[in-house]
Structure formats: C-alpha cells, structure tokens
Symmetry: C3
Subunit: 213 residues, 3 copies
C-alpha cells in the first residue's frame, strides 16, 4: 500500500469541528478502544497501517501536520520531499498528540527531539525530518520512489514479507524470550511451504519466482 | 527549568570523598530506593528531572563527566556548545554508571556506542555527542538558546505541556494497549478544560492566549 | 573478544544445505530453545555474543550477509570498512531473519529502515550502515581498530566492564523500577571490592592499575 495525499499536501491535520460545543459527548465515546483493537477512533487512523499485514509506504509532499504527521508515523516507511513541512502541532490547540504517537514514534525519534517538536509545535522540513529519523529517505518524487519499492517488495514471497512486518512490529517491544520464540514460530510457519520452496528453487535455477498469494 | 553549571563547567562528576574508608555503611543505605520513587539517593540526582512535571532543558558548556553526564541525560532536552567535553567516566574508578543511565539513555543513544564510551571512559566533544544523539542540538550559547525555548514553551498551555512530558516519558516503555490508553486518559483530562478552550479561542481569534497555571 | 572473518569476508550467510529435502525433521528440533538459553540453535550463533560476560567487538570487511549480518548484530560493537557489503538477505530464500534480530536490532536500527532492508534484501555498504546505526564506526583496518579498543578495555577493572555489559544489555529492556534496582545491585557488588579499590588507588597515585581476573 502506498499512502499519499490527494493534491499538493499530505494531510493538514485536525478537523477543527471537534471543538464544536456539542462535541464533548461524542468525544467521550471516541476515546474508548474499538472492537478488536487497542486503538480508539482517533488512534485507529494512524494505527490501522500497523495492523494491516502488508507493507505500507507513505509518500509525503506539502504539509504533514498534527494528525497528518501521526498518520505518517503509522506507516512502515516514510518517503518525503526535502521541502515537505512537518509539525507535531497539537499543542496549538492545547492538546497532546494522541493518535498512537507513543507506540509509533518509539524506536523512530529520540524523546528529547520529539519533546522539543511537540512542546513548541514548530514546523520543520524533510531534511530535518531525515536527520531526526522521522522519515526513512528523501526523494524528489516520493510517490514514484514508493511505487518502485512497492513493486520490488511485490516480487518477494508474500509469506516472508508478512512475517517480517509482524516480527519487526511486535518483536522490538517483547522481552528476549518472547521475541526469540516469535521468530521461531513465524519461521516454522514458512519453512518448507510452497512459497518458500519456490523462492529457493527460483534462486537456484536463476529464474524469477512465481508466488501464490 | 533551565539547568546549567555555575561557572565555566556543567559538572565534573563524582565526589571522590565517597571512597573514604568510613563510607561503606552510608553507601549501603544510599543504594535503597527513596520514599515515593524507584530511584535511590544517587539515581535521584538524575531521575528527579524526569519526575518533575515541567520541561527541563540542560545547557552544557565545559565538562559534563560521570555523574554530571548522567544528570544531563535526566533532562528533557540537552543544548551544548560544540566544544563541551563529555565522558561516561565511572570506569576510571572501577565502577559502573549507576545514576539512572539505564532508564535515561535508552531511546537516546544506541547500546553499541554507549558501551564503547562507558567501557573506555573516553572523552568526546559536543559534535560527537550530537552525532550519537547524546545532545539535542548545538549552540554557541546554550544557556541563551535554552532560555529562548523555555520562553516559547511558557507561551503554550501548561496542561498540554505537562501531559506531553508524561506521555513521552512513560508511553515509550509501555506495551501498545497501555500506551494507547495513557494517551486517551491524558487527552480526556485536557479536552474542554479552560486552558484547552482558551488555546482554541486564541488561535481562531488570532490573539495571544492567556493560560491559568 | 574480537570476532572477524577468516579471509576476505566476514560471513556470507546461510548454509543452503538446510534446504535439503531431508532437513525438515532436523529443522523442527533446531527451533526449540537450547538448555540454559532463550535462544534456539540458529539464534544461538548470534545471541551467544550477548550472553558471554566480556565485550565482543566485530571487525567487518568484505560481505556480512543474512546470518552473517545477524551474527555481527549480536556483538557489543561493530567496526567496519566503508566498502564492506551488508544485507538482511533471508527474503531471497522466502524466509524471515530469525537469528535473534528482534532482540539485537532494537535500539540499534529504526524499524522503518530495517523493514526496507529486510523486505527488499538489498545490499548496502559501510557508509550506509554507519548512517543507519548498524555499525559503530568505520575504519580502514577494522581488525586493528578492534584490537586497539580491546587492549584499552583490558586495562580497565574487569568487574566494572562485566557489570556495564550486563547493565546495558538488560537495563534498556526493563521497566524503570527493575532497571534502577539492577544498577544498584551491580554497583553494590563492585563497591569496596579489591579491583574497585585498586582502580581508585591507581588513579589517585597516578600509576597504572593492576587488576585480578
């Protein structure tokens, strides 16, 4: 999945209609986890990209502010233009960023840099985002670069790709025993199955593989 | 809070009087967690800056060695001169760094780089510290830069700032369900409260906000 | 311990004989944790370098692919030539990397960059590896540099070195209370013991220390 804005921007963030005086009751409901997920309605918009078993690449140009910034953090990879504009903007509205950032930003951006961005709400560009780890890489045309990577991934065994997404999403936050057991469990489910046998055969025979999905 | 050295250095580290032959008994007591904290007497000097609910910026020039280095790691942000000198120096005294570094350095510096610094006790400067993530940013006058950021933060809703510090300090180390629930709990406590309503109103009316603290 | 390849390469990865049709039964056994460890047979090759109480420095030239890449990640520090070639190559065989990468790569490389490398199986060099945090530093002769660091470490109190390896391997993944307690426990075991007293005495008397191991 390649996730991108429709037009010149990725996503400008919050829908200010939530500040409507009639909103509070709806707000309380939207704070509860949704069925089958740890995430509530707002968190879901960012966390759903982690829950989907296939890779999600985010292509960013223009602005990615507030909620838009957090949706980008939920993707597996982030490709951006050097000129794109980012902001953890919620403090502008007297709020904390609450769309899963505490699960998506860990391992990606150091807490001192995230605090500075979030406390100040300041706007930073793609170059800054790369140096802080917020984006994976910079490209003049992030959408084209994302499609290229997506095509490359699509040529790999879909079982292995799904297994790796699951491993890296979960394994980094488990204790050693549980993480090692997860590796063994995922690998045992792949080894000797048709797509794995086909990957080996195609490589040894120096031909393109044909996978079932 | 802006934390800085009084004079030309930030902090030169350990008080060697703890190596006094009469110290051991006092030492045993000082290793026990203090009331209301997981941290003992020595750890408290660094961890207290994390426990305080408001942002703490550390302004570093001169040397930040050993215990001084660990106190700096306990702050929310670290501003340094390029020439400042740092060292994880405890190995010089046959000791491990034990002032909370295992809680403050995670997410900040990678373990391979921290091990190299800690095993060797070598001295490194602000440029190296920036490239390893140990400091947030470099400034010719870190104290002036820290005061500028502190002033900027002071213009934001104090409720949102406190909520974000709590979220980023705790959320990075919780499992997904607990981290997402913490986000929702903090946000629910802010939404619709006077300071949050004032932030929205001031922004929509394009005037400076006036917050209660 | 300095870990290096015998010849022009570090390690080219998987032994393709595991794809032998007669392998599956042996494979199932090799997926179970070994006595006294959370790691199974394959994971052990990488995780054993973390379990060993003394520092392990990996010197890399030539290729470090697949399993070889994961063995390198298991070391405490990684020194590489700028030209060395790395790859998380398991996807080529329709597999996930399963030699402890979910425990060794956390805190070292960000998940978005690891996913890109692992999903694509692409080959990257030492310069890229440094910028992503995969290697600790670059050297024209990594083996010579590793021996220099090993010699430096060998001049420090062996008790303190072992204590720090234990602290940084475990402390980063414990909750705050457990991590702080571990610091206190390790330090209490060092303070006032012969090697610690010798470190202080040698420093105050400005002479080289003599440690017992």
């Amino acid at each position: 999945i390649v996730l991108h804005g429709n037009g010149d921007n990725f996503c400008a963030g919050i829908d200010t209609s939530i500040f409507d005086p009639n909103f509070p009751r709806k707000f309380a409901d939207s704070m509860k986890p949704q069925p089958g997920s740890h995430a509530n309605l707002f968190q879901r918009a960012a966390c759903v990209w982690r829950e989907i078993p296939v890779p999600v690449i985010c292509a960013i140009k223009g602005v990615a502010f507030g909620g838009g910034f957090q949706i980008a953090l939920g993707a597996d990879m982030r490709y951006s233009t050097p000129e794109a504009k980012f902001s953890v903007m919620e403090v502008k509205w007297g709020l904390i960023p609450d769309m899963g950032i505490s699960t998506t930003a860990r391992h990606i951006i150091a807490p001192d840099r995230l605090k500075e961005l979030a406390f100040s709400g300041r706007i930073f560009n793609g170059e800054d985002a790369l140096s802080m780890g917020v984006v994976t890489s910079l490209h003049p045309d992030p959408y084209a670069a994302a499609m290229l990577t997506a095509t490359e991934i699509a040529g790999r065994s879909p079982d292995a790709i799904r297994g790796m997404k699951r491993l890296f999403n979960s394994g980094f936050d488990l204790d050693d025993a549980a993480a090692l057991a997860l590796e063994a469990r995922i690998q045992s489910g792949l080894m000797g199955r048709p797509n794995q046998v086909e990957a080996v055969a195609a490589n040894l025979e120096k031909r393109p593989p044909e996978f079932d999905d």
